[in-house]
């Protein structure tokens, strides 16, 4: 196992404890709260406001990847005739369903409810259908129409559709929990969520500093609470501490890397199974990933004008993976300018088609617009069997030599 070769964060133990407690509570101390499996793009504030305990199979997929348990879990699913070409998060999750004993943390807790939201991909629909069949748990599908518009604005009828479904989701959850949603509690949760998101945005913005206080793996690891604990006090508390630490690093010009010579942008989900080994290849050249498109996905500020349901509808429909290629180009070009980088690296991720299909064109257009070179690397976010270190190292070398 490779070690990180750059500066550790003081808040790291706090992060570790926070996540351990989350998974422990999910498994043993959810205090009679019903367990809901939710996708990373689901409106969790509504779920929390009804005292439902949300757990995130996608985060668990990343955890399996980081702990080197993905391949074994995927193989369990493949033996149950799931195709090895399907998303490895989903495959390891399906593997975990039928063999929790051998899964990390003894598997996720059994869901009482399933809430899937299509704003990140089509896979989560099929994945949650499989979970619903396996656990006989009720499934709610929040259908968020994809936005092909250049300006990234959803159509009025799409907003109305999503808003109507959110009302339905509330009714569904109220019926399942035999509780009434308190508008005050929903607003309070949304406030906590907004606070954390806002702090996370600030942390990310700090990385515009030269040298950057953080490298991509820091961003990947520290995004876990914004996904899995958004809307809780602990989450906001953690990001306050993190922000404080990063602000101090910036003030003292502390660099994440021993020496920052190059600044890069990362695109797509992390390569969890070779996290340090992979990014160390860049550390070798003094290249720091100062920002990325992935962890920024959960830095969307809640649109708080008017009716909260409409604000939720708009925010959750506009998630970056629900946006067209042109918006992705715009966002990438924007990061390149604002973070003043030398180039960008795109992870062509076999497991994630919505994030990866179109990358070749995005790379071409972004380079045309910004003059910055881009590198595409083929791998997988959690299945190590699709990772070839030799080939990847050679590609990185060629790319880095071109930057000099």
């Amino acid at each position: 196992m490779s070690e990180r070769r750059y500066k550790k964060l003081k808040t790291a133990p706090q992060l570790k404890k926070l996540l351990e407690q989350h998974y422990l509570a999910a498994k043993y101390f959810h205090l009679g709260k019903p367990i809901a499996w939710v996708t990373s793009g689901a409106p969790v504030e509504i779920v929390r406001a009804l005292d439902i305990f949300p757990v995130y199979p996608e985060n668990y997929g990343a955890l399996c990847g980081a702990r080197g348990a993905s391949a074994a879990m995927c193989q369990v699913a493949e033996a149950r005739v799931y195709s090895p070409d399907l998303c490895a998060y989903a495959r390891s999750s399906v593997g975990m369903m039928s063999d929790a004993k051998h899964a990390p943390l003894g598997g996720l807790p059994r869901p009482d409810l399933l809430i899937t939201c299509g704003n990140i991909c089509g896979t989560v629909l099929k994945w949650y259908e499989a979970a619903a069949r396996h656990y006989h748990a009720p499934l709610f599908i929040l259908d968020t129409p994809f936005i092909h518009a250049d300006d990234g604005e959803p159509t009025a009828h799409a907003i109305a559709y999503v808003a109507a479904q959110l009302e339905e989701l509330i009714a569904f959850l109220e019926k399942q929990t035999r509780r009434k949603l308190s508008k005050e509690k929903l607003l309070a949760t949304a406030m906590l969520s907004s606070e954390a998101v806002s702090l996370w945005c600030d942390v990310r913005e700090f990385c515009r500093a030269r040298p950057s206080p953080l490298n991509a793996p820091d961003l990947f690891l520290n995004m876990a609470p914004i996904v899995t604990l958004r809307g809780t006090k602990e989450c906001a508390q953690f990001y306050r501490a993190l922000k404080e630490e990063i602000a101090e690093r910036v003030a003292r010009q502390v660099s994440a890397l021993p020496e920052e010579k190059y600044r890069l942008v990362w695109d797509n989900i992390a390569i969890w199974h070779h996290l340090y080994r992979f990014y160390n290849h860049f550390v070798d050249y003094g290249a720091c990933f100062v920002t990325d498109t992935y962890t920024g996905g959960w830095a969307m500020r809640m649109n708080d004008q008017g009716d909260p349901i409409h604000a939720f509808a708009r925010t959750y429909t506009q998630v970056f993976l629900n946006q067209s290629l042109r918006v992705r180009v715009r966002d990438m070009a924007d990061l390149i300018t604002r973070f003043d980088v030398d180039g960008f690296v795109m992870h062509s991720n076999r497991s994630c088609k919505p994030y990866s299909v179109g990358q070749y064109d995005i790379r071409r257009i972004v380079t045309e617009q910004t003059g910055k070179p881009g590198l595409v690397i083929e791998a997988d976010h959690s299945d190590p069997r699709s990772y070839d270190d030799e080939t990847i190292r050679a590609r990185i070398q060629t790319f880095m030599e071109g930057l000099r």
Partner: protein
């Protein structure tokens, strides 16, 4: 003026395109391996996406005035945007239909989305899509769907290759050309020798675009008794109501036709439909004809296979990239048929 508009998926409302004065034609993968598409699509995308884009990049679709997508899977979603970047002057639109077909709000949303599509067509081509034109187009397409259904009812008289030819011709010719069974099967001599074949199979998959498998089935004396292809029975299994608001009627059909695995109506409706197809047609087995890297169908395979296993219905999975390799496909199909005839 170019008068054809291409589409890849049968969720695209062809009646609307037709009523705007265009001929909707299905773009199908060819049998040549893609080369130009490799610069735009990763090797882990399906041949449907890769081959169709490749043909466009090779200039073989230059007679199209536009290409219309329907929102289905992640690859098609990305392909629509890539197509738009590759052909900036072409009319490229996506009808983003609902995924949750069982949502009580899906119909209302889809109607609004279809009206947006109508407006986009009208604006881009400076045409008017009138209610009368929509009604006329609905009637024409219903007639074609009925003709194909009628052909299906008599499919025992035809070989698998003939079935393939009829279905593939249907979606690329003017709809008026197919108004009854006879016009559907013109140039197709009824294959009498096929009647003696005993084993009947149901085919399941996204689309079938080249005749290797039908040819093998013919050679081995098996019959296709039913199918669940996007460009097969799923295309004509439901008609559009000819009364009431035409857009509402088109939307209603999309929500009720046999489900594509990219959509959700109920957890087990595809399995129930498949079992019904097997029973109603007294099929001996099921052949899944899947495209490599087609996620939605790959996802539905385990539950469908389990449903068949529970009913003790044998099945075979074929995973094909673009053209089914003859030798390998044949040995699998032949062994499967041997297994069925022994049972």
């Amino acid at each position: 003026m170019k008068n054809k508009i291409g589409y890849l998926c049968t969720y695209v409302p062809e009646e609307i395109i037709h009523a705007a004065g265009f001929l909707p034609v299905r773009i199908a993968p060819s049998t040549t391996p893609p080369t130009r598409a490799d610069a735009h699509l990763q090797s882990y995308t399906c041949c449907l996406a890769r081959s169709c884009l490749d043909q466009a990049l090779a200039g073989r679709l230059n007679d199209l005035a536009g290409v219309v997508f329907a929102h289905t899977c992640d690859t098609m979603q990305g392909l629509a945007d890539i197509w738009r970047e590759s052909f900036p002057n072409l009319f490229v639109e996506t009808v983003v239909g609902p995924v949750a077909l069982n949502s009580p709000h899906a119909q209302k949303y889809l109607v609004a989305e279809l009206r947006r599509f109508v407006a986009a067509l009208e604006q881009h081509f400076d045409v008017r899509v009138t209610e009368d034109a929509l009604r006329a187009s609905i009637r024409i397409y219903n007639t074609r769907r009925r003709a194909l259904a009628d052909f299906y009812a008599r499919r025992a008289e035809f070989s698998a290759v003939q079935w393939f030819n009829v279905m593939n011709k249907a979606l690329t010719t003017p709809p008026e050309a197919i108004s009854d069974r006879r016009s559907a099967t013109s140039n197709q001599q009824s294959a009498i020798e096929n009647q003696k074949s005993k084993i009947g199979v149901v085919l399941v998959g996204a689309t079938i675009d080249e005749p290797t498998l039908p040819q093998i089935l013919d050679d081995l004396g098996a019959r296709i008794v039913a199918d669940d292809f996007c460009n097969g029975a799923r295309y004509f299994d439901t008609l559009v109501a000819e009364e009431g608001d035409p857009i509402e009627a088109i939307a209603a059909r999309e929500l009720t036709r046999a489900t594509c695995p990219c959509k959700h109506r109920a957890l087990d409706d595809r399995a129930e439909r498949l079992l019904k197809l097997v029973k109603d047609n007294r099929a001996d087995g099921v052949i899944f004809y899947h495209k490599k890297f087609c996620d939605p169908h790959a996802w539905d395979y385990p539950p469908l296979a389990a449903a068949l296993d529970r009913e003790k219905i044998p099945h075979l999975l074929l995973e094909v990239e673009q053209v089914a390799p003859v030798g390998q496909t044949r040995v699998r199909v032949e062994a499967f048929l041997e297994m069925l005839s022994e049972g």
